[in-house]
Amino acid sequence: MWSFFHKLGSPPWLYRIAGTILRWLLPITLVALCVGMTWGLLYTAPDFRQGNSYRIIYIHVPAAVVALAGYYVMALAGAVSLIWKMKMADVAMKACAPIGAALTFIALVTGAIWGKPTWGTWWVWDARITSMLILLFLYLGVVALYEAYDNKEAAGKACAVLSLVGMVNIPIIYKSVDWWYSLHQPASIKFTGDSTIDPSMLYPLLLMIAAFYAVFTCCLLMNMRAEILEREARTNWVKKLALEYRT
């Protein structure tokens, strides 16, 4: 157990194991994404009230779900790097931020496009939508804060604190549709009790959620690999890797 944690802190080991995982995960991710999108776009029946515009659900919900889950990963990595000063946790935290921002962006844009034919408006300052916008700013804030410092150790600390403080926003996003009167519909998938969604629509949705989790994991590992190489640029193993890359 402890040797596993020890290895986890070793940059070359992490770089190699991430590469091995990616060799399998990346093709699976792309296939799942293609199958899920085609399924949702062409092989499901339209919603009886919203018509075809509801097909946006197959990207909107997965993007939003994974954007929130990604925030947990980022905050957890930030906490680990603050408490145990684990360098690789700092790498993971920095790697999460741009992916989370991109996914939140997708959720907001697809939500706006979905809102136009359904509610007749692109945007309302509604609790769910506004709290998601704050999530986007939190992600972008971490990216910007990292760039703002010359001292990368101080940057890591500041970003970890920011992402931990930003955790306050997460339960607000989850509960916003219950706490406030909202245009946004409440969740259709429930862990307890029956989901209010037909199985023929649920399966492609679950596949797309899985695909977006896989996209997040792939991007996280690739960002971490690039970051590790950059930080370890002066070490012998990276130099050797660079030479092999040339030939």
Partner: protein
């Protein structure tokens, strides 16, 4: 397939523009975040390889007394 023809799939009874543009934008962003780290890594490795090559050439030049 749910739709009868390609035209029907494209128009989606008037919602096609919304649905297809939402999918297109999302796919673009996903492609971007998947490709960005690969590009960054390739750039870095190429730069490091170039630096090493130059350093090696510098060493051999010194050994030959030039």
């Amino acid at each position: 397939m749910y739709f009868d023809s390609v035209e029907a799939a494209l128009s989606m009874a008037g919602h096609g523009g919304y649905v297809w543009s939402a999918y297109a934008i999302s796919l673009l962003v996903v492609a971007l975040i998947l490709l960005a780290p690969r590009r960054r890594q390739r750039k870095l490795l190429r730069r490091l390889a170039g630096e090493q090559k130059r350093r090696q050439q510098g060493h051999t030049a010194m050994e030959e007394g030039i």
